[in-house]
């Protein structure tokens, strides 16, 4: 196959652009690898707790992050294991304060199953899954702007329930005594940060949920609230779609839940669907809850009233629960657009190459074509033996 120089140029240019991007990407990765603390972390590969310096600020506090393993993504531990096995990992505890030293307390706690968010229990709460965690260094001294690595070991019992579990590994400054001489009540404010640890234990996975009868909790917009309880052994993230019908049974609108939360096994969460509809009347809402590949349905009757006048609107909105629509994900859109552009480019190259291939001919074919061309050409008339002389130049008029 012969390639036109223009196409070679095009492909090389594309390679150069891609290569340039990869160079920049690699430089960024290198910057991460060789940044202040991670460089020293990479050099260290012992169980000794070493202190490394980091960039701090006067208002910084204690933070923690996981040292992820190949295959992990994001900023959490996601562990898949068999009951009866042991998992070993590490976290980095960082004092971001450039002036203060901290004594950091490191411990594991269970997560509240009924919160709707991800709410770790208090350090003095009873532990179930958190008992599986061993932290050899539960207390760390951290000088200003420094970090240390802490090994974490999780032993999964033989009789652990299959499915998904959640644990939080917490880091907080050791509390100091509160001055009780003031007279008025004093609240000591503690802050702590945590690392989400999602565990999937092998075995039979049960996905099941229960949806309570929906209730109406607001007007203009109408907010339908239902409580979903996780009855299985896996974390679910249910989605609720409401379809609205008028009295004749005609479908008039649909709405989707805005607040979609993870619900842990045994826990529950309130899920809201907001519907803004102005035309007064009686309507039926059919709610479809879906999680994994399962569906459940519920119904609710809604009496839509006259919408308040403009001057009353502010008051009505202020009284309604805070429902904020979840925005579409910009990074996902960017990825889709990027993927689309790449596909178009690749398609264009393939198209051009195929087109070029069709046009390519071998030297033998060329010679044959030339012969055919020559044979098809009419014989030109013989040139005259005595060509007539050129006409005389025009005479100048006197």
């Amino acid at each position: 196959m012969k390639l036109n120089k223009r196409y070679i140029f095009f492909i090389l240019l594309l390679l150069a652009i891609l290569g340039g991007g990869i160079i920049v990407s690699n430089l960024n990765i290198a910057a991460d690898i060789f940044s202040a603390d991670t460089l020293k972390i990479a050099r260290k590969k012992t169980n000794e707790i070493k202190q490394n310096s980091v960039v701090g600020s006067e208002t910084g506090g204690l933070v923690a992050k996981p040292i992820l393993k190949p295959g992990d993504t994001g900023s959490w531990f996601k562990i898949k294991a068999d009951p009866g096995t042991i998992w070993n990992g590490e976290i980095i505890v960082i004092n971001q304060n450039s002036i203060e030293s901290f004594t950091a307390l490191i411990y594991a706690v269970d997560v509240e199953a009924t919160s709707g968010g991800f709410a770790p229990k208090s350090s003095d709460a009873n532990k179930i899954e958190a008992k599986w965690v061993t932290i050899d260094t539960p207390e760390l001294e951290l000088s200003p702007a420094s970090s240390k690595i802490v090994p974490i070991k999780i032993e999964f019992p033989e009789n652990a329930t299959p499915g998904e579990h959640a644990i939080a590994i917490m880091v907080e400054p050791k509390p100091v005594a509160t001055d009780a001489s003031g007279g008025a009540p004093v609240v000591t404010i503690q802050t702590r940060v945590g690392i989400r640890t999602y565990i999937t234990l092998s075995g039979e996975v049960v996905i099941a949920a229960e949806m309570a009868e929906p209730v109406l909790s607001g007007e203009h917009p109408y907010v339908i609230r239902t409580r979903i309880t996780n009855k299985g052994n896996s974390i679910i993230k249910p989605n609720v779609i409401a379809t609205f019908f008028d009295q004749s049974g005609a479908k008039i609108d649909t709405a989707q839940s805005a607040n979609i939360y993870e619900i842990f096994p045994g826990g529950g969460a309130d899920v809201d669907v907001s519907w803004d509809y102005d035309k007064p009347g009686t309507y039926k809402a059919k709610l479809l809850i879906s999680f994994a590949d399962k569906n459940e349905e519920r119904e609710l009757t809604i009496n839509v009233t006259e919408k308040p006048k403009e001057e009353d609107k502010t008051r009505a909105v202020a009284a309604a629960p805070i429902i904020v629509q979840n925005q579409s994900s910009v990074p996902v859109v960017a990825l889709i657009v990027g993927a689309f552009v790449v596909i178009i480019l690749i398609g264009l190259i393939i198209f051009l190459l195929l087109r070029q291939r069709k046009k390519d001919i071998t030297p033998d074919q060329l010679q044959q074509l030339l012969k055919q061309y020559a044979a098809q050409q009419p014989v030109p008339p013989a040139p005259p033996s005595n060509p007539s002389p050129p006409p005389p130049p025009p005479q100048q008029k006197p």
Binding site: A36, T38, K65, L68, S75, A180, G183, A184, T191
Partner: protein, 287 residues
């Protein structure tokens, strides 16, 4: 395109390909060692800060005939998320009971020479104190009777807690000190068997302590759209520390930047409380 240009482009492409190969190799090398997180850079952290370590609530306004309130606001609570992965995060909080400080606890005893010092804070658990809903005052008093001594220092005591069941517990004293519901009692060495120490305690429970998240804002221009400030509510639970309640949730792909919000606090106080300073701990958790 002339030959010179073609050579230059070929060279650039070759460098790009080589860089790619070496770049991939370096990433594999890092992953294999399992020591460096390439997904989260050194600076990519999630942090929470609050001004100061304590908050003074307003003075208790309760009297012998009416309940009162004590209020305050933690402001601002600052969350900084520069992880950049779009991962969801939650701010939640727990609270302990507002218990009377040990240094304020009134004590009395039947001993002529024995004394004790009290530190720590009453955890608000058994027994109750103040008034019941029917208006009957419950004595928040422990009666600690010395059972055994060694060189004048109590080694074992009986503790009577005026709970509804009238339970009596027997506890050992270690190195002259014992902790009773958060209050640390330290005895001197002049006690005799049968002598009794009385300490009066009181508390305001976290089940009457309401948190109200408000005024979510961004300090660096980041969008707050999609972030869910949770509604007001009292803490719940039955332990020394309450269950967690969510205050602010940033769903996936929201909450990337620096944000502030306030947490309003309001404690209902019962009638005729014991005089003294009441202390509790609120723990704000970011995860």
């Amino acid at each position: 395109m002339n030959t010179k240009k073609l050579k230059v482009l070929t060279l650039v492409a070759a460098i790009a390909v080589m860089s790619n190969i070496f770049g991939i190799q370096s990433v594999f090398a890092v992953d294999a060692s399992q020591t460096v997180n390439t997904a989260v850079s050194a600076g990519s952290t999630l942090s929470i800060t609050v001004p100061g370590g304590t908050l003074n609530l307003s003075g208790v306004t309760a009297s012998a005939t009416a309940t009162g309130a004590s209020t305050g606001t933690i402001t601002p609570i600052t969350v900084t998320n520069d992880i950049g992965t779009g991962a969801t995060w939650t701010v939640s909080s727990t609270s302990t009971n507002l218990g009377l400080s040990g240094t304020n606890v009134i004590q009395s005893d039947t001993s002529t020479t024995g004394t004790s010092s009290l530190t720590g804070d009453y955890d608000g658990l058994n027994p109750q104190s103040g008034f019941t809903s029917t208006g009957t005052k419950i004595a928040g008093q422990f009666a600690i009777t010395v059972n055994t001594i060694s060189l004048g220092i109590p080694t074992q005591v009986n503790i009577a807690k005026p709970d509804p069941a009238g339970n009596l517990t027997n506890q050992s004293v270690t190195a002259g000190a014992i902790t009773i519901n958060g209050i640390i009692v330290t005895f001197n060495n002049l006690w005799a068997v049968g002598e009794i120490l009385y300490i009066n305690v009181d508390h305001f429970p976290y089940t009457a302590f309401t948190a109200t998240p408000a005024t979510l804002a961004s300090t660096n221009g980041a969008s707050i759209v999609g972030m869910n400030l949770q509604g007001a509510g009292a803490y719940s639970g039955a332990g020394v520390t309450s269950s967690s309640r969510n205050d602010l949730i940033a769903p996936t792909n929201t909450g990337m930047g620096v944000f502030t919000f306030n947490l309003g606090l309001s404690q209902v106080t019962h009638k005729f409380p014991l005089v003294g300073t009441y202390i509790s701990t609120i723990t704000l958790t970011l995860i």
